[in-house]
Amino acid sequence: MPVSAAAGSERHNVSHAYRGVPRWTYVVAVLAATVVILPLFAMVARVNWANFLPLVTSESAVSALGLSLRTSAVSTILCIVLGVPLALVLARGRFRLQGLLRALVLLPLVLPPVVGGIALLYTFGRQGLLGRTLEVLGLQIAFSTTAVVLAQTFVALPFLVVSLEGALRTGGERYEAVAATLGASPGRVFRSVTLPLVLPGLASGAVLSFARSLGEFGATLTFAGSLQGVTRTLPLEIYLQRETDPEAAVALSLVLVAVAVAVVALAYRRPAGAGMAFWKQRTTPAAAADRDVL
């Protein structure tokens, strides 16, 4: 093995600085990149550009895209509302079975979505754990837009929790302790120290959650069904169009790819959890002077 492989971890801004990257890794890296990029390229090559606009602005396509954006926005908000306290508890709390809780909460990351769909079905479905009670209360979840949001939240929540917990673990605790000794109550510490410090992590977590929600397919198909304007999100529309109109499916896929690219670019413009670095880059003295105190 080349000795240089281990030496390349430190980053330098100098372009001529030594970089210990063995040459063979470039070969494999190109191969790896090809595995990801080539299929995308092949799909783009198949797009019928003459019909592109009519295809992606058809009634069903617009309805599906609108539904996808709406449900993903709602589930992202749900992820933030539920995920921030959860991440805080996981990062700062000290209690029994904390590790187990973390493992369980992160499970949807590695679970096939269809399994998630089945699990949701047996929870909120008519015959499910909560479904029967909800039915009595007049709430029907299956086949409703609520089901779509639930499925999306189920698969997207771990992304937010992971990003945020990572950000919370990178040294905010000492700032929080100092803030407390300066007289800030736990609520104030959370609002004016913890949250601002992890804002970049929260933002990238939210963006990833949104992206995951937007792409959610398996759990939705299993749990929510597929009806235009109600539960048929863009991925489901693509899946259906593929049956009869591959051109439309390709065109819509491209739309989804474009959204995904935008989202990933937004999330990885800076690495998640780099809260301190983010604040260091951000401000100019003039901008700071304009702001009022707190």
């Binding site: 803030a179 104030r188 105190v293």
Partner: protein, 367 residues
């Protein structure tokens, strides 16, 4: 208006009792791991001791036995903490950082800003008010951090090695600033530097192995150290033992002759503990220390006999430059000799030599 603390943390072998007068600044010194940071954490409310009680200006900070009892959370204590690193909130400007304490206390925006400006002026950092922490040098940031701590109007200011992370040019500036702002305040400052203790503190407390081994007015502790740690700070050799005639007898069996000091009976050591971390001397024997400067020690290859002289056979552990001299270390003892003498004797680490010191150069007093 005083501060009083007794606290024990069993898991860390920490057991300390400490009182501060109304305007007293105490320097806490001790080797790494002695429990200095534990002390500040307990006072600030960041660490819960198993048992103990603390009171600040008539208010109870905690009163615990077996982990139960009264416990005031950190934000209600009025014990602002200034750490080794400034830890300014990176998303706030210097001004907003300093205004954080007043705002937390419920002061209006306008009033908080006015107070923040006052304290920034106090630390000569008014021109830095609009800057973000990332745009401040280490020294500037620490000055702003001092202003932030003071703006919180703490009843007791806790400083955890505030100069340790500063460069050689910034430290003196901050030391002067602290001398000014600590005057007339209750404060506890952890430091490794005898100069900090001399300049900033009225009193020094030596913390070793989780307990106080020695305390007293700074000057006196440095002049007449009773613990090896304090002697090290003062740059003196210290041997501990029991009183024997005009000198002491050490545990190793050395007899050290010296001059018995006046005021032998005074006892600065806290009651109930053996000083220096050693067990209390047996009944009928009095614990005492023999103290002498390294410059009074001569080094010989052979045992030089002579009644007024003390001679200790030691193995050299280290040689290091020390000003114009070579400091010869042998365990806890040190001798300063000229480079020429060192070369003549052919000193190298591991060599067996005799450290010889005149009795008239040795001060003997109670430990």
């Amino acid at each position: 208006m005083t501060f009083a603390l007794e606290a024990a943390v069993a898991g860390r072998g920490f057991d300390v009792a400490l009182r501060l007068g109304p305007t007293e600044t105490v320097a806490v010194m001790g080797p790494n791991g002695a429990g200095k940071s534990t002390l500040l954490s307990v006072i600030a409310g960041l660490l819960k001791p198993d048992t103990g009680r603390a009171e600040l200006n008539g208010r109870t900070l905690f009163e615990l036995s077996a982990g139960r009892g009264t416990w005031t959370p950190p934000h209600h204590r009025g014990t602002a903490l200034l750490a080794q690193e400034p830890l300014l909130f990176p998303h706030l400007s210097a001004l907003e950082n300093v205004a954080f304490g007043p705002r937390s206390a419920g002061v209006s925006r306008k009033q908080a800003k006015a107070e923040a400006l006052h304290w920034l002026a106090e630390v000569e950092a008014l021109d830095l008010q609009a800057r973000r922490p990332a745009e401040l040098s280490g020294g500037q940031a620490q000055r702003v951090a001092v202003a932030r701590a003071l703006a919180a109007d703490p009843g007791l200011l806790l400083l955890d090695e505030p100069m340790a992370a500063l460069d050689i040019h910034s430290a003196p500036l901050l030391r002067r600033l602290l001398k000014r702002v600590l005057a007339g305040r209750q404060a506890i400052i952890i430091t490794h530097d005898a100069l900090d203790a001399l300049m900033l503190a009225d009193r020094v407390v030596i913390l070793e192995n989780g307990g106080i081994s020695e305390e007293g007015p700074t000057r006196e502790v440095l002049q007449r150290p009773r613990s090896p740690f304090a002697a090290g700070l003062a740059g003196l050799n210290l041997l501990a033992g029991t009183l024997a005639g005009d000198g002491i007898r050490t545990a190793e069996g050395w007899t050290v002759a010296g001059l018995l000091e006046d005021g032998y009976a005074d006892d600065r050591r806290p009651e109930g503990r053996g000083g220096n971390g050693y067990p209390a001397a047996p009944e009928g024997e009095r614990a005492a220390v023999a103290v002498f400067p390294p410059s009074a020690v001569s080094v010989f290859l052979d045992d030089a006999h002579g009644s007024p002289r003390n001679s200790f056979e030691v193995a050299i552990s280290d040689l290091e430059p020390h000003g114009d001299f070579i400091r010869v270390r042998a365990g806890s003892l040190a001798a300063d000799i000229t480079p020429a003498a060192s070369a003549d004797l052919g000193l190298i680490p591991g060599l067996q030599v005799h450290f010889v010191v005149k009795a008239t150069s040795v001060a003997v007093y109670s430990a």
